[in-house]
């Protein structure tokens, strides 16, 4: 049965390396279709995406559920990148020295806590708070962190290579622009990986058996698994190797029991047992060791108790300050409301379904997408928003909706995207250079792809004029406006994304279409 463990290692390594690469790759060489397949393998986002109707990736989710119902939480040791991350942390001491081999001891699972977190996460999603998922969902947290930490490093290396190459007359490597720096967006991911790393070093895969909401859901399913890893009484020689090697700490070798609901399916025990005494056995119902019914009861009570936290979840969600200070300028007022990317349907839909995995942030070619702080509320921390100080949304680009694994961003076809109004431009005449400096400018109108911003004669100059029915809120005008720090033209968010009117155009008369008859000079 050795192939079980080695097969598991190969799959997990492949998924881990690919996902890590995708989130570090600054050139976006991985095609969207591959990204879609990779993220469809992730249970967390796929579970959220159920809400947006059928899509082919759901078959993968059904497969994951089926596998769990057959053999338990194998998902946690194969497809989950955070699981593999912890396995690597576990391995490090052993790589340094053979003698550092980790030894684990059985620990009674924290089932109540885990089911509490899983239950609250699910209920949260239903009542509109994604806080716990955002905080603990393993895929999103791993890839978001690796992107936040790795991206600046990769860009530094690339730029060093680019400047060296140019000195030698090679122009094939181009400089890359750093994403706008934000302390929170860097510190939080570092803290998260540090937390999981230290936890793994001290306690094995406790994150997975106690805090992970996806693990919790799969754990409930694995209680009903047809096949469970078990110690075969006759073949066990009581060496205890299986317990020592169990990262999930769910094997009680002394009592010959395995808490299968906490088993993360790594198969290390099957591989380690010298006598073949640890095996998958057909066992629909877990045989409860004596004394557990009481414990079960307790955990059920604790789980129900945790439901009392639901109102707290609502409070967390409401924590965003709704009061708009009248003393603020119109610009400052508008900028308090973050603008969700195109395809978000509404701010509400977006903030309730985005797990902040930052795949869109990583893939966005203009880097206009940027992790929010708490602008979306406490629950929506790190969900991406449009950052027009860094860039503006490319008119012909639909990448963010194509890659979103949770359905928070709907996939938009190009013609639809070009009419999707995510916000409206507002013009503050009194701040405009044409008024304040009495000089021509027009940078806003120049960049506008729909000519919602037009230049109209004003005194002996030209002044911008916004026709918001044509505006799609791409932010080109705001980005280009040279007035600082508060722009004279800026986009205010649409709570609900609307459909802009098709840009109207005078058709150039046929006579003008003719070629030049004579030079006009």
């Amino acid at each position: 049965m050795r192939f079980l463990k080695s097969g598991r290692v190969v799959i997990s390594a492949a998924v881990f390396v690919l996902l890590t690469f995708v989130f570090l790759d600054p050139y976006h060489i991985v095609p969207v279709i591959v990204l879609d397949v990779l993220t469809a393998l992730q249970a967390g986002p796929s579970l959220i995406k159920i809400g947006s109707g059928f899509y082919p990736g759901l078959i993968v989710l059904a497969g994951i559920i089926a596998v769990t119902l057959l053999w338990g939480r194998i998902y946690c040791s194969t497809l989950c990148p955070l699981g593999t991350f912890q396995d690597i942390i576990n391995r490090i001491p052993q790589w340094i020295s053979r003698r550092n081999k980790r030894r684990f001891l059985f620990q009674k699972p924290f089932a109540a806590v885990q089911y509490g977190i899983a239950g609250l996460s699910v209920i949260g999603v239903f009542i509109g708070s994604i806080f716990l998922v955002n905080l603990l969902e393993p895929f999103s947290n791993y890839v978001r962190s690796i992107n936040a930490i790795g991206n600046p490093l990769i860009i530094s290396i690339n730029n060093l290579a680019a400047s060296t190459a140019i000195r030698w007359g090679y122009f094939g490597i181009s400089q890359l622009a750093f994403r706008q720096f934000d302390a929170l967006a860097l510190v939080m991911p570092v803290l998260f990986l540090l937390f999981v790393g230290v936890l793994t070093y001290k306690k094995g895969r406790l994150f997975c058996t106690m805090m992970c909401p996806v693990g919790g859901i799969l754990s409930i399913l694995s209680r009903m698994s047809f096949y469970k890893i078990s110690i075969v009484p006759g073949q066990c020689k009581d060496c205890g190797l299986c317990e020592k090697i169990c990262k999930a700490r769910c094997i009680d070798a002394k009592n010959h029991t395995i808490e299968f609901s906490a088993c993360i399916g790594c198969m290390n025990c099957i591989d380690a047992c010298p006598t073949g005494g640890v095996q998958y056995i057909f066992k629909r119902r877990e045989q409860e060791p004596a004394g557990t019914p009481q414990g079960e009861d307790k955990s059920r009570r604790k789980f129900l108790g945790s439901l009392a936290l639901i109102p707290a979840l609502r409070l967390v969600d409401r924590a965003k300050s709704d009061q708009t200070a009248d003393t603020l300028s119109r610009y400052a007022q508008a900028k308090r409301k973050p603008i969700a990317p195109p395809g978000a349907i509404s701010t509400k839909h977006f903030t309730r379904t985005c797990t902040a995995c930052h795949l869109c942030v990583s893939e966005c070619p203009t880097q206009v997408l940027y992790p929010a702080g708490f602008e979306y509320g406490l629950s929506g921390f790190f969900q991406p928003k449009m950052n027009y100080s860094a860039a503006y949304c490319n008119y012909d680009c639909t990448v963010c909706g194509e890659v979103c694994p949770t359905g928070a961003l709907r996939k938009l076809e190009k013609p639809e995207k070009k009419l999707t109004q995510i916000g409206k431009a507002e013009f503050q005449k009194d701040d405009c250079i044409v008024i304040t400096k009495k000089k021509d400018c027009g940078a806003c109108s120049e960049h506008c792809p729909t000519k919602a911003v037009r230049m109209v004669p004003y005194e002996n100059r030209f002044l911008p004029e916004v026709h918001s029915e044509y505006c799609i809120g791409c932010g080109a005008c705001e980005h280009a406006c040279p007035v600082s720090p508060e722009k004279a033209i800026f986009v205010a968010a649409n709570e609900f994304q609307e459909k802009a009117q098709k840009p109207v155009q005078e058709i150039v008369p046929k006579s003008a279409q003719q070629q030049l008859q004579d030079f006009p000079f």
Binding site: A480, E506, V508, Q515, L516, F521
Partner: protein, 307 residues
């Protein structure tokens, strides 16, 4: 001397002789073309041909590409590659024209031919979708990125009234020859974009121009470095909703091209092609007042060609 060295030496000699003859022939030809009317050509205007065909004729009228590019020199070409739009939208310089210029520079023995622009839209998409990246690479040129501040260096503009310094792309500082290759377009800020306005893509900090009297800054920057030649693409021109345009309805196929070493003269003629009065475009007037070039088209020796 054995047979082998004899062959080598005689081959070398004949190559040298050939090169000398060719050089002589070209200069003879250049002299002929400029002496056709007795005085030098101020402006070449062409119409009715394909972009690359018109350029071949136009550059010939100015003495051929070798009058501008010497063997071993580095050439920088600055087309307008501002917007992520396809060639038929005429938002960027015609890729066929850019490709032909690169090809001729390479044939003239240029060491390297660089093409770049500080794009407005995302640079990678814009380089690609404009068709210019492909055309340049096929012709043997090098596309140089210009999208981060790291590519730019501080330069002084001593003759500037409002604009005294700028961050200019380093490839310009490295190159021996600079060709300015804009497209004529309607422009919402400045009425027209053509040769002088195109130079805005040479610098990083364009925002400062917008907040510091755009017209004067454009005129000021034209005093800084005179392009060896301005080649204005007017094959298809954007008559409305410029500089980005909304759709192909903004585009008129004019099939024209202008070449001039005088950037002000080139822009004045371009304005007329667009149907505007050059006097109403402030930066042209300002540049003429600053003696950067001439705008009196009526008193110029204009070589006109029709196909």
């Amino acid at each position: 001397m054995d047979r082998r060295t004899f062959f080598q030496k005689s081959l070398g000699m004949s190559a040298l002789l050939g090169a000398a003859l060719a050089g002589k022939h070209e200069s003879l030809f250049a002299a002929l073309s400029s002496s056709k009317s007795g005085k030098t050509v101020d402006l070449v205007a062409l119409k009715g041909g394909e972009p690359e065909v018109m350029f071949r004729k136009g550059i010939e009228a100015l003495g051929g590409i070798s009058a501008f590019v010497k063997r071993g020199q580095k050439v920088a070409i600055k087309p307008n590659i501002g917007w992520d739009v396809l060639p038929e939208r005429a938002g960027n310089t015609n890729p066929k024209l850019v490709g032909e210029i690169v090809r001729q520079c390479v044939q003239a023995g240029a060491k390297q031919v660089f093409v770049f622009d500080h794009t407005c839209d995302n640079w990678q998409r814009t380089y690609q979708n404009s068709g210019i990246e492909r055309a340049v690479k096929d012709a043997g040129g090098i596309m140089v990125p210009a999208h981060t501040e790291g590519y730019y260096q501080d330069v002084k503009i001593p003759a500037g009234k409002n604009l005294h310094d700028a961050k200019e792309h380093e490839i310009l500082l490295e190159s021996d020859v600079f060709f300015n290759v804009p497209i004529v377009k309607n422009h919402s800020s400045t009425r027209m974009t053509s040769a002088m306005k195109n130079l805005m893509g040479n610098v990083w900090n364009r925002g400062a121009w917008h907040s510091n009297d755009l017209h004067q800054c454009i005129a000021d920057f034209a005093t800084y470095r005179k392009p060896a030649l301005n080649i204005i693409d007017a094959y298809a021109i954007m008559k409305s909703n410029g500089p980005r345009g909304i759709s192909q309805n903004d585009v008129v196929v004019l099939k024209a091209q202008l070449l001039s070493t005088d950037i002000v003269a080139a822009d004045s003629a371009a304005a007329k092609l667009l149907g505007s009065d050059p006097n109403e475009i402030n930066y042209i007037r300002m540049a003429a007042e600053q003696k950067t070039g001439r705008m009196d088209l009526d008193h110029m020796n204009i070589a006109k060609y029709s196909f």
